[in-house]
Symmetry: C2
Subunit: 238 residues, 2 copies
């Protein structure tokens, strides 16, 4: 929550020298610029570790933020919904040439730690987030739609798409997927311990970091599952 940054730190800290997304007015943060990164490897790694995003769009002039599943194929993200869902309808049923698409902001966040400083002011979180700005379009090409649905399933459990019944024609007709290209993208990462002011170091308050991470528990089989079907390797390896 410290706001003291420099322009030099903005690009120097986390850009690895590989391919990166060009910064724009809306992907350069107004504060904590040293935590921003446009490195494609950094962005991809954060995206690939998650499967739930928060999708923001405008409805009747007001912002809406909904949690939803996403999948990544290269430089494209796919977001899943039913054809009856509001954002999907707004993204249009035609390809870009005929539909204007839906302006969105898609954000993925991982919390890595609670940062406890001696001062209330310097309390913070360790986290990694990616924010994508762009215009989403509904996927209409049948091959792309099938690839996107596989990517959405494999994003949650890698290897699962090949071990489930693919969508049939009726299900495909009831499913809408929107595509968002990774063009205007930034990551933001905070790591390390608390940044207490020097005069606060003698204070009698514990200071440090409490690590946080998602825990995957033991899979629970459906009551109606054939007992002969063993837990698949893509689940035992988690």
């Amino acid at each position: 929550m410290s706001t003291t940054t420099t322009a030099t730190a903005a690009t120097g800290a986390t850009t690895g020298g590989g391919p990166s997304y060009p910064p724009t007015d809306r992907t350069v943060p107004t504060r904590s610029r040293q935590r921003a990164s446009y490195d494609k490897d950094v962005v991809h790694a954060i995206l690939d570790e998650g499967y739930v995003c928060h999708l923001g769009f405008i409805r009747d002039g007001a912002p809406v933020v909904l949690p939803t599943l996403y999948g990544r194929i290269g430089e494209r993200l796919y977001v899943h919904g039913s054809t009856g869902s509001r954002p999907l309808r707004m993204a249009g049923s035609k390809e870009p040439a005929e539909a204007p698409g839906l302006p969105v902001c898609l954000t993925v966040t991982h919390v890595d730690g609670l940062v406890l400083a001696r001062s209330a002011f310097h309390h913070s979180l360790n986290y990694r987030s990616v924010v994508v700005h762009g215009t989403a379009h509904q996927v209409t090409d049948p091959d792309e739609l099938r690839s996107a649905l596989d990517a959405l399933v494999d994003q949650v459990v890698p290897g699962r798409a090949a071990d489930s019944r693919p969508a049939n024609a009726k299900e495909l007709a009831a499913t809408a997927v929107i595509r968002l290209d990774l063009e205007e993208v930034s990551a933001k990462v905070r790591t390390g311990g608390p940044n207490d002011d020097a005069e606060d170091l003698p204070l009698p308050h514990w200071a440090g970091v409490v690590p946080v991470a998602p825990r995957t528990g033991t899979p629970v089989a459906s009551a109606d599952l054939d007992p002969a079907i063993a837990l698949p390797s893509y689940l035992t390896a988690r």
Copy 2:
């Protein structure tokens, strides 16, 4: 991802009969209505289990979604930022009578499980989410600001606000907090196993739920922490 619901199910499934938020056009979902709840106890419980929200607002006509900390006091949420941050500046520095405030959508999501069905189509997540629509205003009353800052710290680690140095005048001046009243609010909850179609039950794919929950690790003290300062009870009890 099943879309078959009925109007009856929309309010019957999860409303406990206690105080509730009045449903509005934008808090009644277009699908999976049986998962929606307006029960205040349900909403408060979901909010109190988290500390990171995704805040959506409109900037230059486009949606923006940023992860940020929040705290709850009764029917008010507080969101923290620096006075230099974009949403805070947009929320204005005056009370509602003089500033229009910032239209926002604040969403909190907990993932509880990965739902693996025999069909790709019926894959889903178990989750609990709260979506709050409203207009945020900057907190200017000094007493409310101090209470909000305590709530923000205690939301992350209950009991911590009393065991840290409170913000001083300089820090208070550099801190902006916006307030969002809980008025137009809904929760959405999915629980249980996969909803496979009957004809898919004989398929040879494993089906069930993989539980997911955040794990809190062993606290790591700052390198410069006085070794005489023991881990506080509000951390050992986690």
